[in-house]
């Protein structure tokens, strides 16, 4: 474990909006053993030191740095979070589904909502809340980075305990 190897992993994690271990492996060409060691080292350094205001967390397999909980009061004063209240209830339903599932097809969304989501998806697409890419005959929908960044919806959902939706049913 060399210094520049630690620095590289640190730079990548900081620059990403959450990154999976597999992607880190591909990018660095490190062995899994080495990467584990480095991640461990970083977590130890940041998370356990009182001198650091941030910590490296692994949330659902995504590594990302977050501010420590003890500072949330101060930080809430400066962080401009876009309100989710500008969305209609129907739009919010789909946004929360995508915040939990990350990626969904339209039939999956329709199935959970028990109704057609064509119009809502169209609205959300054109206002930059969601994006989609073609896969096979249909599309895969997900939230845009910009929207996630500005609303921090994923963190909100996590703090509220998650939608906890049974994946087996869909």
């Amino acid at each position: 474990m060399q210094k520049d190897q630690i620095a590289l992993v640190e730079a990548i994690i900081f620059a990403s909006r959450g990154i999976k271990k597999q992607d880190l492996l591909n990018l660095t060409n490190f062995s899994e053993e080495l990467l584990d060691k480095i991640i461990n080292y970083l977590q130890n350094k940041y998370n356990n030191s009182e001198e650091h205001g941030i910590e490296l967390r692994d949330i659902d397999g995504f590594f990302r740095f977050y501010s420590k909980e003890s500072f949330s009061n101060t930080l809430s004063k400066i962080i401009k979070k876009r309100s989710l209240n500008s969305l209609s209830e129907t739009q919010l339903e789909i946004v929360l589904l995508l915040a939990t599932h990350k990626k969904m097809t339209k039939p999956e969304i329709d199935n959970i909502r028990g109704k057609d989501s064509y119009n809502v998806l169209k609205q959300l697409l054109s206002s930059g809340v969601i994006k989609r890419y073609k896969k096979g005959r249909g599309y895969i929908y997900s939230l845009t980075d910009v929207f996630k960044d500005e609303t921090m919806v994923e963190e909100l959902v996590k703090d509220l305990g998650g939608v906890n939706i049974d994946h087996s049913g869909s």
Partner: protein, 228 residues
Amino acid sequence: MELLFKFENFEGPLDLILFLVKKNKLNIREIPLSLLADEFMNYVNKMQEMNLNITSEFIVTASYLMELKSRSLLPRSNEDQEFQKSKERFYAQVEQYAKLKEMVENIKNLDNIELKNYPVNVRIVFPKINEKKLKKLIKSTLQEIEIKQKIYQIKKEELSIEVVMSRILNNYIGKNLIDILKESKTKYEFIVKFLAVLELINLNKIYLDKKLKIKRVRKNAKRSNSVG
């Protein structure tokens, strides 16, 4: 009688089912399927009578519920594996949707919630690219915008020569030309005013006296001492 209640507009069948569950003040699994199916049918019929928008999903769900109902009434339905599975799938779907709805409510009500942990960012330093070409492109676009912007302002001011001409005839008779021009807020206004004055002189509507005051040309009056 309760069907005479004011109808909410149910967006989809699951919204109606959640409403019925709430109305019965029971857990969905505690409501007899036959009761749920009948109430659902009643509402759908009522909605149809009231010409409310009923999507095909309501019809599909209604017939699905009726099927579940009829199977639940058969003897030994408890041993019917197939039926138990369908029933379970239906309950799971409703419960899942209820959770989602609850989450929506939570977020709506607790909008200014403080997060426990805020994601942090660093600004990424990217390698220097060929900025020359880009800067050239930006510069020319900026210039184009500037030109368009000027035209926009002129349009916005709506200073056509005709408008200014009538303004002069109505308000500026007897006033000094230099004073009027000095009042101009923009170069463009200055030019338009000047052109309007020239045009009025040309049309023989006004003339300028020795002190450059604007005077109206009176019909049959002799035009003298005008500055041309």
